[in-house]
Symmetry: C2
Subunit: 429 residues, 2 copies
């Protein structure tokens, strides 16, 4: 279902910047055995949860009156997966999707003022049940909409769990052994999927197929292992510490944004380990980032992502038959134009010795996207093993939270002492 | 108007990862003299073009009937500046703004199907007048809307110029000596600004004030020089090759996206020169990228961007008085919460020895945004001098275009020979 072509990451295609055949073989010898004993991590159980699929579908079907807008209130792993699914797969006739994934005063004010609570359903998501940004947005929405418009997805205890119980709001679980960034196939992502008309069962079925592929014991046939080992080798052996995911499909842009969190939080763990994930969108960012990718430092691996087929594909109309600026485009489907632009970028990068690869789907559907998300999760978990870090924790986000709680006067946190910068380093222009 | 605080980029604050006072002084001695003889680059004339301001404002005022949607058809520098202005400054009662800045088949199809041409104005922008993506989208829009709904901004010759002349469409100039990524204060950005109710004259007045500040001969008082020298030194002396711009304001997100192109295309010029710009959004990306920034490799400089005041600022309602998960938030304006989250992130990064800095505006207004964009342009041009590269060309984007033209069968380009990857590096999973 998914094709991973990494020929252009090899030295045969890109020269010294690429991986040699010998280096790949040696690494497979050294680490390929992980494929023979891959753990069943917590998130690996999610594709098989038929009962959860049944429950979220029923909750969506029974929601009356049917909403015009679905709002996901959550941040980080509690929003990115839902947004990725909505962007890729939302059925046009279903409610529109919005994420309240920030505490921006102007944005929250505008979004909440514009919504009619009677036609809106709010899905509040926080595993711990008390994430600062999420609670703030929840309180603002609750004040306007009243408790009958809410569903909750949360862990087994905490403020949101208690509140949902008290007011009788539908409540779904984030399993204890599944972290936020691996939670898209739990109710965190399945509740929005169900409301947005996405085939929840196909999504899970795609992930089940991917699970089978990702458990192949032959490392050279295991897509998750290869998707981990290629960027890992380029990072370790060639210093390529920037990993770019570049979808050529607007519908997959937010899959790349979701992956940015997955890759950064899972692997960014020490002064010597932590590739920086970057999102670029084709063809748009050809006119923004590709100058740098082509001629700047050879410190990047670029992973193209694209579907073979689009769900709509208008042809460029032939309005100016003999005009050289238009002639080569007229009559061609836009997909042909977009494909040529991608191929041009791939070929230019390759000619410049910049390693790249392609991940492609036959089409954008619940099955293929389910498979894609799951494969990327498995690849990330395996990359954690290759890098020698725990891909499931995020100890580095707590320090900032503690400082912020101090500034907000949360009880139990020492009050903050302001440390202004030395004035000679402050310019008021 | 703009405050640049780089105290947290200095070793006094962040230890070994930061710049020492001596290094800064030495660099100012070595390169600070550029401030005494800054050229009047092409883009430097734009803030002073009162006649252009008059013309675009008149064109918008005379457009009848007044449009409900403004569509910018352009890519790269022909869209990013307009989008940045629209996101930051669009007046709510004015037309909504859309950019057709790609040839995504599904996106183009959905956008064009949804628009009522009679209520839409299309602004087609291409300096050369024949950018592939822009011409394709233009033809699609023209077929549906008819030629009376278009304005054109382009260079002095080319297909779009000829077409506009022939049909009598209003046409504006991209000056020959202004490149796309420095064109936001030309009609490329001013035409959308005028239609979106943005105070065009204030925008330019802000840029004029910034021009004065950026021409201060004392390098320690010159914001553009300091904004160039700090990341340049961190890159050259400490290997910090990733420069993150992190707005804590949704309205400024697209300013950072515009800057991404400016910084990447202007400086990404050789195997040894080219910092990678990255966009992160606060507070959202605290839950996505900050783990990596705090604990991963110390190879990043993070520039926070924020306004002191927001144009709306709802308070978190006090719905659960004695609830510890809510208590520290209730009654506080969202801006207070957002500020604390930013300060927490700044303090955690600093405590972890990660250099960062802050660029702040007193408010988000046409004046401050005009000043901000212009200051960043000047900083980029000066950074080109410090890095020893030409910040105004982009030779690395042509190779990809040639390959794409071959694949599209454009006359004058050799037909493409497909070079499939070696099969053993292709996995169909």
């Amino acid at each position: 279902m998914i094709t991973f072509d990494f020929a252009r990451s090899m030295s045969a295609a890109v020269g010294a910047g690429g991986i040699t055949d010998e280096e790949l073989s040696r690494e497979i010898e050294r680490t390929g055995e992980v494929c023979r004993k891959l753990p069943k991590w917590g998130f690996c159980e999610l594709p098989y949860s038929e009962e959860v699929a049944y429950r979220v579908l029923r909750a969506a079907a029974e929601w009356k009156p049917s909403p015009r807008t679905f709002v996901q209130i959550g941040i980080g792993g509690s929003a990115l997966g839902a947004t990725a699914l909505a962007s890729a797969l939302r059925v046009p006739s279903s409610p529109r999707y919005l994420a309240l994934d920030n505490v921006d005063p102007e944005e929250c004010s505008a979004v909440l003022a514009e919504l009619d609570p009677a036609e809106t359903v709010y899905h509040v998501v926080s595993k711990g049940g008390e994430t600062t940004e999420t609670i703030a947005a929840f309180l603002l929405a609750l004040e306007r909409a009243g408790e009958k418009r809410f569903l909750v997805t949360t862990g087994s205890s905490g403020f949101l769990r208690d509140w949902a119980r008290r007011v009788g709001a539908p409540v779904f679980d984030v399993p204890e052994n599944v972290g936020g960034r691996y939670s898209v196939l739990s109710p965190v992502g399945l509740v929005p999927a169900a409301f947005l008309g996405i085939e929840v069962r196909d999504l899970l079925a795609g992930a089940v197929l991917a699970d089978e592929a990702c458990r192949r014991e032959d490392p050279r046939r295991n897509p998750a292992y290869l998707l981990a080992v290629v960027p890992h080798l380029l990072d370790r052996l060639r210093g390529m510490k920037i990993h770019v995911m570049m979808p050529y499909a607007r519908a997959l842009r937010d899959v790349a944004d979701w992956w940015r969190q997955l890759w950064a939080e899972s692997l960014g763990k020490s002064a010597s380990v932590g590739p920086t994930p970057v999102l670029a969108l084709g063809a748009t960012d050809q006119h923004s980032q590709v100058q740098l990718y082509n001629q700047g430092p050879n410190d990047k691996w670029i992973l193209f992502l694209w579907p073979e087929k689009f769900r709509a594909d208008p042809a460029v109309p032939a309005l100016f038959p003999d005009q050289p600026a238009c002639d080569y485009l007229q009559g061609k489907p836009l997909s042909t134009v977009l494909r040529a632009l991608r191929q041009g970028t791939e070929e230019a990068l390759t000619a410049n010795g910049r390693p790249n690869a392609a991940l492609s789907l036959p089409e954008i559907s619940a099955r293929t996207v389910g498979a894609l998300l799951y494969t990327l999760e498995m690849a990330t978990a395996i990359a954690g093993t290759l890098y020698g870090v725990n891909p499931f924790d995020q100890p580095g986000v707590d320090a900032g939270k503690r400082f912020a709680f101090s500034r907000l006067g949360r009880s139990g946190f020492p009050s903050a002492t302001s440390t202004p910068g030395e004035d000679r380093y402050v310019l008021r222009a």
